[in-house]
Symmetry: C2
Subunit: 218 residues, 2 copies
C-alpha cells in the first residue's frame, strides 16, 4: 500500500506514533542510567542511541523532553554522566517497564528489580544485569528546533563486555552478548546472524565472510 503525508496526518495519534516508530527499521534497545546530584538514580529504556564516530568514540541519543525521559535529560545535564546498557533477553520485561511514568522520586531500579552498580569516579549507575555497559560523559547537547527533542552527545570513557563476545577484528558478537533489537515501540527481537560481509571495494563482487571462521579473542 502507498500512504501519503495526509494519510499519516489523518491517522489516530497512537497508531501514527506506532507506525512512524517502526519506519526506521530495527532499533537498538538500551537502558540509560543516570542519577541526580543527590545520587537518586533513574533508569529509562531508549531506542534512539546512534553511532556518531569512533575516534573519539561518540554516541548520540535523542531524548524527548516530555514524559519519563525528562528525568534522564535533567540528570545528564546536571552530572554530565550517563550509562548505556544493552537490553538482553532476560531483561526485556524489566527494561520495558522503566518506560512507565513513575514519579520523580521513584527509582526505576527498585521498581523493576534491576540492580544499580556504581563505578569509581562515575556518578551514573550502570545496570549490573547488562552484559554490555558503557560509561558516557556528556560532550555536547542541543535542543533541535524542529520538534523540541534534545540531541545528547556522549563519549565512551569506560566499558565492560563479556570477553568471549569480542571478536579478533574488534567486532562485538551481539548474539553472544544476548543483545535484543526493538521494532516499533514494543516488539523485542533476538538477532539471527545471516552473514558477515567483507569490506566493500568497487572492483570486487560482494563477498560473504566465513562467519564460522571469525575467531574470538582469547
Amino acid at each position: 500500500m502507498r500512504l501519503t503525508d495526509s494519510d499519516l496526518n489523518d491517522m489516530p495519534s497512537r497508531e501514527r506514533a506506532t507506525l512512524v516508530n517502526s519506519l526506521s527499521g530495527f532499533k537498538s534497545a538500551n537502558l540509560i542510567g543516570t542519577a541526580n546530584t543527590k545520587g537518586q538514580s533513574n533508569l529509562a529504556i531508549m531506542s534512539s542511541v546512534v553511532h556518531l564516530g569512533s575516534h573519539p568514540p561518540l554516541l548520540a541519543l535523542v531524548i524527548r523532553p516530555g514524559g519519563e525521559e525528562r528525568h534522564t535529560l535533567d540528570n545528564i545535564l546536571s552530572t554530565q554522566h550517563f550509562s548505556i546498557n544493552h537490553v538482553s533477553t532476560s531483561m526485556i520485561e524489566a527494561a520495558h517497564q522503566t518506560a512507565a511514568r513513575y514519579p520523580r522520586d521513584t527509582c526505576e531500579f527498585e521498581a523493576t528489580g534491576l540492580t544499580p552498580q556504581w563505578w569509581t569516579g562515575f556518578s551514573a549507575p550502570v545496570v549490573a544485569q547488562a552484559n554490555v555497559k558503557l560509561a558516557m560523559v556528556l560532550r555536547d547537547h542541543q535542543e533541535l528546533t524542529i520538534n523540541g527533542t534534545h540531541l545528547v552527545i556522549g563519549e565512551v570513557v569506560q566499558l565492560e563486555l563479556p570477553d568471549e563476545s569480542l571478536n579478533a577484528d574488534g567486532s562485538l558478537d551481539l548474539l553472544s552478548t544476548d543483545t535484543v533489537a526493538l521494532a516499533g515501540l514494543d516488539a523485542y527481537h533476538r538477532g539471527d546472524l545471516l552473514k558477515r560481509m567483507a569490506y566493500a571495494k568497487p572492483e570486487l563482487p560482494p563477498r560473504t565472510l566465513d562467519t564460522a571462521g571469525v575467531s574470538d579473542e582469547p
Copy 2:
C-alpha cells in the same frame, strides 16, 4: 573485560572503528537513494537512521562528509529529496556493496543490480526491490561541530509497504517486511520476535502481549 578510553585510543584504527560501531547495539540497515540535479542517481547503505518524532513524521540521519557518503549529502542538499529503503534479506550483498568507493559518475544501482524507481514529483529514486520505501523531504540540516558529521532531518511525505505487514495497531511487522538489522559494520541479522510488551504503566506489573493474537489489517 573492562576497557577505558585509553584502551580504545590505543587500539588500531580499524579495530576501534569496528568495536565502537558495535557498541550502540543493533542498528537499522537502510539504503539511501538520492540523485543530483542532472538526475544521476546514487545509493548508499547507512545504519544511522533514527526516529525523531511522529507528528510530523521525522527521521534523522548521520552522514559522514568524507568517503562515499559525501555524494549522498551533496545530492540531498541540492534536491532536498532522499529515499530510505529497508534492506531485506535478499538484498544484503547488493546493499553492502553500495559502500564501495565508486567514482561519482558510477551509479550504484547499475553497479549492484538494484533497480531505481521514480515516484511522481519526487526527485530521488527509491529501490524497487525494497519492501519498505520512504520518500523524504529535507527539513533541517547541520554540521555537528564535535566531529564534523552532518545531521540530516527529513520528513516522511510518502511511503510504500506490503499490506500484510501493517498490524491493526499501526505497528509494522519487520519480519513480514523481511527487514534486516546490522551489528557493527558488516554483520547482517534477521530478527526473531521474542515478545511484544503492553504499554508500560507504574501500577501494573510488566505484561507480555499475546503476539499470536496481533491481527493484520485487512
